[in-house]
């Protein structure tokens, strides 16, 4: 294939990856920004979203679009509930101590993963896309659903931005993120904000998973990659910065795809990984973060 179309394809693929990654990373970023908690179980919330999506789609059974839409509603809610319970029972009791929460969320990771294995099983299971059409370009065909994913992710991000920037709940979150004690002195229910943010973060991961599952299938070990990538995005993008998160997701999503045009894919991954490390060394606050962590 010629270079131009090749690059186009890599770019489109990068955009799809970036869209879902941005959603997932945004969840991690919120939790990290507001609560200063590194949630290692974030990838498992992603996996749980995918698994529940499969389960719901199967239960509904009717037209794929119906099952998918049901999953899009049910999966995030259920994952949010799980997260809220975990926050209440574990993280809050730890006083959100950074190191303790890392260990606790590693524990949570094991618990969720094993629970998925025991109930859902070890096999990868597909969910049918709600729409199935192929866009035919002169050089190659492309999945229409994938383009839809980009649109859906963008719409969801706008929603999140609107909630954060324009609503009272968003204002409470931003105030809590900035100064927990003063927020408390102004009657902001910090405990509930924390619980809500943790649940919201998990829900964003779950939504990302529901979007990706018609492309990728649900599998109980699928949480690993989104976690790693989200970490990178959150750090490169600057803590808790929505704009930074989106831009970083784009950069990360694209760079991997475009570098692999020029090098062997594994070498591309190595280079992309090193690039991230070097960027962080040069700009420890992230490419787009204005303030130090």
């Amino acid at each position: 294939m010629d270079f131009g179309p090749y690059l186009l394809l890599a770019t489109m693929e990068g955009a799809v990856g970036a869209a879902v990654l941005a959603l997932t990373a945004l969840g991690l970023s919120l939790v990290f920004g507001v609560m200063r908690v590194v949630n290692v179980a974030h990838g498992e919330f992603f996996m749980l979203g995918a698994v529940i999506a499969w389960w719901v789609a199967h239960l509904v059974g009717a037209h794929p679009a119906l099952g998918f839409l049901a999953a899009l509603v049910v999966a995030p809610i259920m994952v949010g509930l799980v997260a809220a319970v975990a926050e209440r029972l574990v993280l809050r009791r730890l006083g959100y101590d950074p190191e303790a929460t890392i260990v606790a969320t590693i524990g949570l990771l094991y618990v969720i993963q094993q629970a998925a294995l025991s109930t859902f099983g070890p096999d990868a299971r597909p969910v049918e896309p709600p729409v199935d059409f192929r866009i035919l370009l002169p050089w190659f065909g492309y999945s229409g659903y994938k383009l839809l994913v980009i649109a859906a992710a963008a719409a969801l991000m706008l929603c999140v931005w609107w909630v954060l920037a324009r609503t009272r709940v968003g204002l409470m979150m931003r105030a809590t993120r900035f100064d927990r004690e003063t927020a408390r002195a102004f009657a902001i229910p910090v405990d509930r904000v924390y619980g809500g943010v943790f649940a919201l973060g998990a829900m964003l991961a779950a939504v990302g998973a529901v979007l990706i599952v018609p492309i990728q299938q649900a599998h109980y070990l699928m949480g690993h990659d989104p976690l790693l990538l989200s970490f990178i995005v959150v750090i490169i993008g600057g803590l808790g910065s929505l704009r930074g998160t989106v831009l970083a997701a784009l950069v990360i999503g694209m760079s991997d795809g475009v570098i692999s045009v020029f090098f062997s894919p594994t070498l591309a991954k190595i280079l992309a990984t090193l690039l991230v490390a070097i960027v962080l060394v040069i700009r420890p606050t992230g490419l787009f973060g204005a303030r130090a962590a």
Partner: protein, 432 residues
């Protein structure tokens, strides 16, 4: 401990309940008056350690290996056990992790004190566990299809008598692929050791038959999306050879379909990619008309042997290779027969060596090395096999199947000789 069989498809060897049952049974047998009934199996049981990938990346396979194991052990015990001893299979999960796999071998050897270990599947776990098995002087019989045993780089305690290795599989199929699908091949394979085996052995076989590998496309181990690798497939490609082990296979096929549409080259794949995956899954329609290697035909063929029928019946698998209790629960049919056959080979070798306890371990392994051929039978439902005692590797028939109406139909069965290659060493020259 006897592995308890519950209803097919849902059973699982539960060590604790089995243990309790055992203790109870032992108590009963020890009671006066019951001695006679225990005579059917005389003396101490023969204990076999079976490491299973219950968790981790191999869990899909592990689940089915365990089911086959349970069925096979039950059958052996119904037939009087091994040399009159009841067989106990002790299962431990190894998490598909090399370190844990090694620890489990140690546990079998030093805590459970088993007579032999068998059943390991994933290559990295086998490679990690093999040296320890040798050091612990523990017969270690794998069901892995890797080339590691036949490469004679392990030790004399390691055997693979139940399934053909990758090198042989690939080599025996190449001529048919060249003759029927095309001579210009592009290979897509995972960029780790298993994929490299395919790359090396299949490329060699293609060249030997006058074909040409026009492109090699390694996929990084952490990849979840494949579309962006497809542009590297040259337009001149006649056959796309794909091995995509792991949960990404549906994605791979779907994206292949989106990318090529109907203007695609011939596809030839390794069934490992779609083991435990229902061919009626959405997205897999695209595989219609493509070809796969199968170790053992998943779908009962028109000329199904009585042995295959018997094997399916006992394991609880239907004619579509799925669990009888849940048609969505598809087995790893192309590989799992190896657990069954390996147990019967252990039985054969132990009985040949007049094995009654660990003091005869060496005799058992020498007996195993002396075996030459396994005829197609209930014990060997996959078919006849020839065993090479020097390389500890077995050679059998391979199947090439075409996807027709969401089922795999066998179109070619290779001869055993197609897969033969010169020995790479001789284990019998090593000491025990």
């Amino acid at each position: 401990m006897t592995t308890k069989a519950a209803k097919p498809g849902s059973f699982r060897v539960n060590r604790r309940t089995a243990l309790q049952g055992m203790a109870g049974a032992a108590g009963l047998m020890a009671a006066p008056g019951f001695v006679r009934y225990a005579q059917a199996h005389s003396g101490a049981p023969i204990k076999l350690g079976v490491p299973i990938h219950r968790t981790g990346i191999g869990a899909s396979y592990g689940r089915w290996y365990e089911r086959v194991l349970t069925a096979a052990v039950k059958l052996v015990n119904e037939g009087g056990g091994i040399a009159g001893h009841r067989v106990e299979a002790i299962v431990e999960d190894d998490g598909t992790d090399p370190r844990r796999g090694t620890e489990v071998i140690e546990k079998f050897a030093t805590q459970h004190k088993v007579d032999a270990v068998f059943g390991h599947l994933f290559s990295h776990v086998v490679n990690a566990a093999a040296p320890r098995a040798g050091e612990l002087k523990m017969p270690y019989i794998v069901c892995s299809e890797g080339h590691h045993v036949a490469s004679v780089k392990l030790n004399r305690y390691c055997f693979q008598p139940g399934i053909t290795d990758v090198k042989s599989q690939v080599q025996s199929m190449a001529p048919w692929v060249m003759a029927n699908l095309g001579k210009k091949v592009t290979m897509i394979f995972p960029d780790y050791a298993f994929g490299h085996d395919h790359r090396d052995y299949f490329s060699a076989a293609v060249k030997a038959k006058g074909g040409e590998v026009v492109a090699l496309i390694p996929i990084p181990p952490t990849e979840t999306s494949f579309t962006r690798h497809f542009p590297k497939i040259p337009a001149s490609t006649e056959v796309l050879y794909h091995v995509m082990v792991g949960p990404g296979v549906l994605t791979f096929v779907k994206e292949l379909g989106q990318h090529f549409g109907s203007k695609r080259p011939q596809l030839f794949g390794f069934v490992d990619s779609i083991e435990a995956v229902d061919l009626a899954s959405p997205a897999l329609e695209y595989l219609e008309g493509t070809h796969f290697w199968e170790g053992n035909p998943r779908y009962a063929q028109a000329n199904q042997s009585a042995h295959d029928k018997f094997f399916r019946e006992r394991v609880g698998v239907d004619a579509n290779g799925a669990s009888k209790s849940d048609p969505k629960d598809v087995s790893t049919y192309a590989h799992m027969f190896s657990v069954w056959e390996t147990l019967f080979i252990i039985k054969q070798a132990m009985e040949k060596a007049d094995y009654h306890g660990p003091e005869k371990k060496v005799a058992f392994m020498e007996a195993l090395e002396s075996l030459k051929e396994f005829p197609e039978s209930r014990q060997h439902p996959q078919g006849r096999k020839i065993f090479n005692g020097k390389t500890h590797q077995v050679f059998g028939h391979q199947f090439i199947s075409k996807v027709e109406n969401k089922k795999l139909k066998v179109v070619h069965k290779t001869s055993i000789e197609d897969g033969m290659y010169p020995d790479e060493g001789d284990y019998t020259k090593m000491s025990f």
